[in-house]
Subunit: 335 residues, 2 copies
């Protein structure tokens, strides 16, 4: 039997297989052997092949756009949106539109072509998080931008075209749809109940003790009750008012630790799957979002979409979240 | 430069490349050579391998679940939802849920394993449409169901696991999200303006004369201004009040003709791409939907999703719809 489940924030329905839940072995494996190292534009020594860096973590005395960095942020060579120009908002008949103004940057997470994010130390991941924060703060100063989207594609099935470990940042002049719906859903819940819907969800996870994978002092990771994809998992700050851009050193370290741990558990449990993660952060240059609770959504890409998902927004997930959490917890992991 | 465009019905933003629009040659080709014919459970002579048929078009004198059919509808052997049981709607903490009650059927479109839908004659496609209609009417009599989802996956990238030409029908106890949003969007527009948003959109297509691919007496096909995917196209009845389940013989023929034509144009233009199509129909056993205008959305699957689409609902389309329409119109097609 399956269950139909409805998400309380945005109202999305999903079909979840509960009694015939598929295990990790049921999903196709993907080969991630490194093939591009010899010509990789993100490797040290080829800094000239990317646009000039906009931010970095570097050894003292090393030169911009030369080797000696541990994290490097560069503009995307083939950006979806460009930083120059006016938005020129206008209508064409029924449609609203504007010029494709925005920023599109790449965060090169390590100089080491063959080290994936899950293999970096928490301290190395802290450097990546610090660059996410500094770019977020910097881009938010441009008042044309309303949303800073930070995400990662790992592996071909997740849309990665470059194999050197990297994530991406896009600054947008509007709030993208899913995030907007989460903001609205959280706001409505807050208005009605005076509580944060995500705080209540975390509380429910603690009470049920079924879908939590791990936690530390500041963060919790669980497989949500209404996933869109098998083995989907979310990382939340435990405190409601923890701002992403204002994390303390200790909070940064705890975020890096739990992110590493979840990526490592996915890697072992699912034989190094392709995945995406997205930071769902509060919008910038926008009304206050007291009711929103930022988080990271991690989505392994294990299956081709079935077809009706695209057309209807209904998802069919063949691994029950409590089973996924069990499999992920079983991976032995030493902090 | 790219443009940011907002859909007037559900408010989705898309990024569309306008000056560096990619042509059909830029997308990867997929091999659809038939491999499963010798063991295909949908081929004539192997009717016993499927669950017993629930509907069909058959030669006079042929027997149910034997050869002699031209279209055959059978329950899905591995259904996402099952017809038996009560919904048992309930809450688990924050979440709404119900048992996975529904129907999941397969429409085998032709006995010929090696003939794809685009190759069938309009008259053969009429038979398929008639079965869509009769199953829609039949399933709607079950008052547990609120939505009948009719869709097709063609090719591996579109999620098809069986190569014998077929489409699928799922009856759902709730309205899936995208359709619900379209219903709401159309209703709000109608309330405010007293007009159908889709009728206005079609009117705009006629005025601009850029994105229409083809039309006949009863239907029009165009590449929408705010697509999610390159070469996405929509087929609309020209008249607002044309009910899918109540199409006249002539309207059925015109629908079959334009569907065949669009699938043929896609096949030639994009070297036989994988695709999905979905019928967005009015819900059943639900309040009246005077403001809704049913249609078919056809989505070729040419690219891996870029990653941020999943996380944010923002889409990046690298072929401008007016260019896609030009490419599709250039295919020579004799009616």
């Amino acid at each position: 039997m399956a269950e139909l489940r409805r998400d309380p924030v945005i109202g999305r329905w999903v079909i979840v297989s509960t009694d015939n839940s598929l295990g990790p072995e049921s999903y196709e494996k993907e080969d991630h052997t490194f093939k591009q190292a010899e010509v990789c534009q993100f490797c040290p020594g080829r800094e000239y092949q990317t646009p000039p860096e906009v931010d970095c973590v570097r050894e003292h005395g090393s030169h911009p756009n030369g080797p000696g960095w541990s994290v490097r942020v560069v503009p995307n060579k083939f950006p979806a949106l460009r930083i120059e120009g006016d938005l020129d908002k206008r209508a064409i008949g029924l449609f609203d539109m504007s010029n494709g103004v925005g920023a599109h940057e790449v965060v090169i997470e390590t100089p080491d072509h063959a080290k994936i994010l899950a293999d970096l130390s928490p301290q190395e991941i802290v450097y990546v998080i610090k660059k996410f924060q500094s770019r977020y703060i910097n881009l938010a100063q441009d008042r044309r931008f309303k949303y800073i989207m930070i995400f990662k594609n790992y592996g071909e099935s997740a849309g990665a075209s470059v194999e050197h470990p990297h994530s991406q940042i896009i600054a947008l002049p509007m709030i993208p749809r899913y995030v907007y719906e989460e903001l609205e859903g959280a706001r409505n819940y807050y208005k009605f109940r005076g509580r944060c819907v995500y705080c209540d969800m975390i509380q429910q996870e603690y009470e049920e003790q079924k879908r939590i994978v791990t936690e530390n002092n500041d963060f919790i990771a669980f497989c949500p009750f209404t996933p869109r994809f098998p083995f989907e998992n979310w990382i939340f700050p435990k405190k409601h008012h923890l701002k992403f851009e204002g994390l303390s050193e200790q909070e940064q370290y705890h975020l890096a630790s739990i992110l590493k741990e979840m990526l490592y558990r996915l890697k072992i449990c699912l034989s190094d799957p392709s995945y995406n993660f997205y930071l769902h952060l509060a919008p910038v240059n926008y009304e206050s979002q007291e009711s929103f609770h930022w988080h990271i959504e991690i989505v392994p890409q294990l299956t081709r979409i079935i077809g009706f998902e695209w057309g209807t927004g209904l998802y069919y997930v063949q691994t029950a979240p409590f089973k996924a959490a069990e499999y992920l917890r079983e991976v032995s992991y030493k902090i």
